[in-house]
């Protein structure tokens, strides 16, 4: 199992998994998001190649209403 912090909350996932698989687990596949892994942006083109490690901190953001 891999322990990840996603948007500030602890999660456990069956490893190994890459970003693409994480998004599938979180039901975010195909959604317009941007993702950071340990403070670095992971570009969309790398989602299937970026393998996550135990202890990684992930931020996933979307556009919401604002002024």
């Amino acid at each position: 199992m891999i322990a990840l912090t996603v948007n500030g909350q602890p999660h456990q996932f069956e490893g190994p998994l890459q970003v693409q698989a994480l998004l599938k687990e979180l039901e975010l596949t195909g959604k317009r998001i941007a993702l950071e892994r340990n403070g670095e942006i992971v570009p969309r083109g790398r989602f299937s190649d970026e393998w996550l490690a135990d202890g990684d901190k992930i931020e996933i953001v979307v556009a919401v209403g604002g002024g």
Binding site: V6, K31, R32, I33, R44, A63, V64, G65, G67
Partner: protein, 266 residues
């Protein structure tokens, strides 16, 4: 001669826009109302905030950009909620990734949560970093003419001084500073923050602003869609009045509009 679309377009960072009214997407009842208000306003540029997605809640839920597709609108991500340059830069890098490389952004670095007044020191720092990273930066700022000019010199593509506090609806508190900023600027000047009703928007345009960004004035009106329509007209009216060149003010004597000769009974 009326100001026609082609001749009086607003140009920001090399792109032209028919509408000089930019609107925010916060504080609405739901996405349907947001879209209806944006449509009524005629705005082509809309701001959005960047926030963590809700994990594990309603995966089928529609999102804001379904209601306001980037194919139809210019989406302008903001840095609302950022209190230092690092957070603002980080937020806009994420936004650029989110929006497939679109790099026209709104920078705001706040100084305190009560007034939401900009922290101008951090704003200058963030602007420098962002411009070096090839962002096209429209920057929310105080109405200090020196700082507005410095932001322009750093390379911001538009300066956006506040008229009054964000969400306050207090209107144009210092038209004099605004006019100084407009006179000195070589980039577009847009009033951002504090507009409350249609006359405020018209006043700002009459002063020579290139455009206006507003959110609460529309979203918090009793009838937001109707207010959006009013704002559209106010921005157009104020702009035409500015281009038409107003008559001079005469504070101490009148000037009759009707002939002073040929009156009957004399």
């Amino acid at each position: 001669m009326t100001a026609n679309d082609q001749l009086d377009a607003l140009t920001i960072a090399g792109c032209t826009y028919r509408s000089r009214l930019l609107v925010g997407t916060g504080k609405y009842q739901d996405f349907a109302q947001t879209r209806a208000a944006v449509d009524a306003s005629g705005a082509q540029i809309v701001t959005v905030a960047i926030r963590r997605t809700n994990i594990g809640q309603n995966p089928g839920e529609p999102s804001l950009l379904d209601a306001l597709p980037p194919s139809r609108f210019t989406i302008l991500p903001n840095t609302a909620g950022c209190y230092n340059a690092d957070d603002a830069v980080r937020t806009l890098r994420l936004a650029r990734e989110l929006l497939d490389g679109h790099d026209l952004v709104k920078l705001e670095v706040l100084g305190d949560p009560t007034t939401l007044f900009p922290n101008m020191v951090e704003t200058l720092k963030a602007a420098e970093t962002l411009v070096k990273d090839n962002f096209k930066v429209m920057v929310y700022c105080s109405d200090d003419p020196i700082l507005a000019k410095q932001l322009e010199e750093i390379g911001c593509c538009a300066v956006m001084p506040l008229a009054s506090l964000i969400g306050s609806g207090m209107g144009i508190l210092n038209p004099w500073n605004l006019q100084i900023i407009i006179a000195n600027a070589k980039v577009p000047v847009l009033v951002d923050a504090g507009v409350g009703t249609a006359s405020d928007a018209a006043i700002a345009m009459e002063l020579g602003c290139d455009g206006i960004l507003m959110n609460t004035a529309i979203a918090a009106a009793k009838d937001p869609v109707l207010m959006a329509s009013a704002m559209r007209k106010a921005v157009e009216a104020g702009r035409e009045a500015f281009l038409a060149g107003r008559m001079p003010k005469k504070p101490y004597s009148a000037s009759p509009s009707s002939p002073t000769t040929g009156m009957i009974g004399r």
